[in-house]
C-alpha cells in the first residue's frame, strides 16, 4: 500500500470507494479501465474476496451486537469517571501516607521507650505468615484463554440453558472481545472445564435476549448481571419458540424431525433445514422461516438459531 507519493499508482482507498459504489459513473468507468489497462483487476477481485472473508469470519450481526454492548458499557461508565477516580484515589493515598507518617512520628516521640522484656515478647509474637485464605467473594472468572473463542457465532446455548427455569442464576464469562458464554462446569480450582458460548441481543436497557435450543424451548429472556462479580444471568422467563415464531404450517409427512438453523441475516442460504423430512417439507420450512425472520413491521425478529420440533404419526 505504501508508495511515497507515486501518483501513478491506484491507491487502495480508491479501490475501496469503487467497491462501495461511491464513485460517479464516469469515475467508476475510468478507474475500471485503468485497472484493466494495467492488468490490476486482480486487486479489486482480492478486495472483494477479502470483504467476503471478513464478513464470514466476523458476521455483521454479531459485530453489531458487540458494538451495542460496548456502547451500553460506555454509557454506564462515562469517560471522565475513571480519571477522576484515579486522581481522588491518588490524593487519598498521599493523604493517608502523610497522616501515617505524622502519627507514626508522634507516637514514636510521645510513647515511653519499650522495656527489653516487651521487646522480647514482641519479637516472639507469632506472626501470621501463612498465605491468606482465598477470598471466596473474589471473581471466580476463570482464565479467559481457556475458553473457545473461535467462531463465536457457532456457539450454541445448547440444552443447558434451555433446561434452566425461571429464577435460575447461571454463571457466565465475558471475554475481552465482548463474547459471553455460560460456565457449565468448573473444577475445584475454579478453572472452567466446560463452557458454552452464547450470543446476546439487546432487548431493552437491562434485558438481554438470548436464543436457546432444546426440546421445544426456543427463546428466553435473561437479566444480565454485570456487577458485582460473579457475573451471572438470571432467567426471567422462559418462552416456547412458538411465542416468537409461528408454528410452521408445513406438513412433515408422518414421523419426522426437522432441525432448522436460522441466521439473522435471514437469507435463504442461511436457513438450513436438516432432518428426516421430505424435499417439499424442506422447501416449505425454508419459505416459512424466511418470512418469519423478516417481520412485516420491518423489525428483525430476535431469533438467530435453532428450533427443533418433531411430529409423531397420528
Amino acid at each position: 500500500m505504501s508508495n511515497w507519493n507515486d501518483k501513478d499508482f491506484i491507491p487502495e482507498r480508491m479501490l475501496e470507494r469503487l467497491r462501495l459504489g461511491e464513485l460517479g459513473d464516469e469515475e467508476t468507468q475510468r478507474l475500471l479501465d485503468e485497472l484493466e489497462a494495467r492488468g490490476e483487476m486482480h486487486r479489486l477481485e482480492a478486495l472483494i474476496e477479502e470483504d467476503e472473508e471478513i464478513r464470514a469470519h466476523y458476521p455483521p450481526a454479531v459485530m453489531a451486537s458487540h458494538a451495542r454492548e460496548r456502547l451500553r458499557r460506555r454509557k454506564r461508565e462515562p469517560a471522565d469517571r475513571p480519571g477522576k477516580r484515579r486522581v481522588s484515589r491518588r490524593v487519598l493515598g498521599m493523604a493517608a501516607l502523610v497522616m501515617g507518617l505524622v502519627f507514626g512520628a508522634m507516637a514514636y516521640l510521645t510513647l515511653p521507650p519499650r522495656s527489653a522484656q516487651d521487646a522480647e515478647i514482641g519479637a516472639a509474637s507469632p506472626v501470621d505468615s501463612s498465605p491468606s485464605e482465598p477470598d471466596e467473594s473474589s471473581s471466580p472468572m476463570p482464565d479467559e484463554s481457556s475458553f473457545p473463542t473461535e467462531e463465536p457465532w457457532r456457539g450454541m446455548l445448547e440444552e443447558f440453558i434451555a433446561r434452566a427455569g425461571e429464577g435460575n442464576s447461571i454463571p457466565i464469562y465475558a471475554c475481552a472481545k465482548g463474547e459471553v458464554g455460560t460456565i457449565k462446569a468448573a473444577d475445584i480450582r475454579r478453572v472452567t472445564t466446560d463452557a458454552s458460548q452464547i450470543m446476546t441481543f439487546e432487548n431493552d436497557e437491562d434485558e438481554l435476549r438470548m436464543t436457546c435450543i432444546g426440546d421445544g424451548s426456543g427463546i428466553a429472556n435473561f437479566h444480565y448481571e454485570d456487577e458485582p462479580r460473579p457475573r451471572s444471568i438470571t432467567v426471567r422467563s422462559a418462552a416456547r419458540y412458538e411465542d416468537e415464531i409461528p408454528r410452521p404450517p408445513c406438513s412433515l409427512d408422518g414421523p419426522a424431525e426437522a432441525r432448522v438453523v436460522l441466521d439473522r441475516q435471514g437469507t435463504p442460504e442461511q436457513i438450513l433445514v436438516a432432518g428426516r423430512i421430505s424435499d417439499s417439507a424442506t422447501q416449505c420450512l425454508r419459505e416459512h422461516f424466511e418470512e418469519a425472520m423478516w417481520a412485516p413491521s420491518g423489525d428483525r425478529r430476535p431469533i438467530w438459531r435453532v428450533a427443533i420440533w418433531s411430529q409423531s404419526p397420528d
Partner: protein, 161 residues
C-alpha cells in the same frame, strides 16, 4: 440511538473496509478488531447517519484512532512502511499538530483533522492533494499547508518525503 438494523447495516457495508484499514496500520488482529469496534461505536454514539461520505468519515476516523494507538506503543514496527506510519504517528502527536491549528480554527471551535491523518493519506496511501482534501473535508490549499509542516516534522525524524 440508531436502530439495530441501522447498526447492522453499517457493519455490513463498512466493516471490511474499517477492519482492513486497522489491520494494515496496526498489524495486530486483536487490536485491529478492537479499534474497528471503537470506530463504529463512536459513530453509533454520535448517531449521525447523515454524514455526506460515511466511508470517508469511517476511514479517516479509523486512521486517526490507529495513529493514536501507534503513538502509545512502545515497540517500533519492523518494516519500512510501518516505520513511516510510526513516524507520522509520532509527529502528529506533538508540535506538528498544535502548530497546524490556526487561530481561525481555534476561534470558531472547529476541529481540523490531524496532520498525521493527512500525511497518512498522502504519503502512505498515495492519494492526491485533491483526494485527501475530499476525504478530510478541507481545502486543497489547507491540505498542502498541513503537509508542508508535516514534511518538516518527518524530515526532522530522518524521513525525506
Amino acid at each position: 440511538m440508531p436502530s439495530e438494523d441501522e447498526i447492522e447495516a453499517l457493519y455490513v457495508r463498512f466493516e471490511a473496509m474499517v477492519l482492513r484499514r486497522c489491520r494494515y496500520l496496526l498489524g495486530d488482529e486483536e487490536e485491529a478488531l478492537d479499534t474497528m469496534h471503537e470506530v463504529f461505536v463512536d459513530v453509533i454514539e454520535k448517531g449521525d447517519f447523515t454524514i455526506h461520505s460515511p466511508s470517508g468519515y469511517l476511514f479517516v476516523l479509523a486512521t486517526r484512532k490507529c495513529l493514536n494507538k501507534l503513538r502509545s506503543r512502545r515497540r517500533r514496527p519492523e518494516s519500512a512502511d510501518s516505520e513511516l506510519v510510526y513516524a507520522i504517528a509520532e509527529s502528529s502527536g506533538t508540535a506538528a499538530q498544535s502548530a497546524a491549528r490556526s487561530m481561525l480554527d481555534w476561534l470558531f471551535g472547529t476541529q481540523p483533522e490531524s496532520s498525521g491523518v493527512i500525511a497518512m493519506l498522502y504519503y502512505v496511501d498515495g492519494l492526491t492533494h485533491a483526494q485527501v482534501a475530499e476525504e478530510v473535508g478541507m481545502s486543497v490549499s489547507g491540505v498542502r499547508k498541513r503537509l508542508r509542516r508535516m514534511r518538516q516534522a518527518l524530515e526532522a525524524q530522518g524521513f525525506t518525503p
